[in-house]
């Protein structure tokens, strides 16, 4: 006879068993299918990420026509690059400038522009960020190591299930000789949420 703490059989945590219960029941009834669930996981783990948003930003910096399109109809402009949201929400691009800095939050839950940034980082989903970003954005940005001068207005955008925001950061100085592909490599995820600004290049290589 063996005791209960023998490790010769498998264990599922309660949460794992709940997830398996959902998956098996829903797929038996045809509400989901395992192949597409696996494909979604794979897509979000590998193909969808901030590189998509960086592409949008770099194109906006280098192509005035695209820039205008993005300002007027971000959903269509972003879709034209092949990044489509399956959740059907509208995209709005907000452009940082010398006098305005944009910051994106979702105070209700964690709405986030998945199609261009992938899944949100942990801090974006955390209660302190969600509540403080609206109340004291300057202090929140300071926590991220970003000092925004008092002369610059900070606009906070609260995402919803229907509208998601993408921040277009200012193009760093000393990048006039770079093309779209090189520029895209400079654009960080946080700069497109508004919790970072892009440093000017000290030496372009």
């Amino acid at each position: 006879m063996h005791s209960h703490d023998d490790d010769d059989h498998s264990h599922l945590t309660d949460i794992e068993a709940r997830v398996r219960a959902l998956e098996s029941l829903l797929s038996e009834k045809g509400y989901i299918d395992s192949a597409s669930v696996d494909k979604i996981v794979q897509t979000y783990e590998t193909n969808i990420g901030p590189q998509n948003g960086a592409h949008v930003v770099a194109k906006a910096w280098t192509n005035p026509e695209f820039n205008t399109w993005l300002k007027n109809d971000a959903t269509a402009a972003i879709h034209s690059l092949g990044y489509t949201s399956r959740q059907g929400e509208h995209m709005v691009a907000v452009f940082n400038s010398a006098d305005t800095h944009h910051l994106v939050v979702c105070t209700l839950c964690s709405c986030y522009p998945w199609s261009v940034l992938g899944l949100p980082p942990t801090w974006y989903k955390s209660p302190p960020f969600r509540s403080r970003a609206v109340i004291e954005p300057r202090a929140v940005l300071a926590d991220f190591g970003v000092e925004i001068s008092e002369s610059i207005t900070i606009e906070v955008h609260d995402s919803t299930a229907e509208i998601r925001y993408l921040v277009i950061p200012e193009r760093p100085e000393n990048t006039n000789n770079l093309g779209e592909t090189e520029l895209a490599k400079l654009v960080t995820r946080d700069s497109m949420i508004g919790t970072a600004v892009l440093d000017k290049l000290s030496a372009t290589s």
């Binding site: 059989h9 829903l26 209700l108 839950c109």
Partner: protein
């Protein structure tokens, strides 16, 4: 907007380059919601509302735990399945794990 008492909340953790999902179940729970929505089981607004309700509740849980609770709640509200069926199936999975040698795939009995 609901007031949030910051003294009862953990500090923000500013981590970069973290994995998208910390555990496989998080990925499965995430993808099931996307698949159900794409197949028309609910609208995205209904999902956002279910998730907000969980997050705005008083329980301190991780983000994907909220996500899973919202999913269980929405599929029962939409009558895709029932709480009873979910509970019974969960028990079957625990039983299946208990009879599966360590390292082998856990399967429900097919009979």
């Amino acid at each position: 907007m609901k007031e949030v008492d910051l003294t009862h909340l953990p500090d923000m953790v500013l981590v970069d380059n973290e994995p998208v999902f910390n555990e496989p179940w998080e990925a499965q729970a995430f993808a099931m919601v996307i698949d159900l929505h794409q197949k028309g089981a609910f609208t995205w607004a209904e999902w956002a509302s279910a998730l907000s309700t969980e997050i705005q509740g008083s329980e301190l849980r991780s983000y994907y735990q909220h996500w899973l609770c919202a999913l269980e709640s929405l599929v029962t509200v939409k009558q895709l399945t029932s709480t009873t069926a979910l509970e019974a199936r969960k028990t079957q999975w625990h039983e299946a794990a208990a009879r599966t040698p360590h390292g082998e795939a856990i399967e429900l009995q097919s009979d």
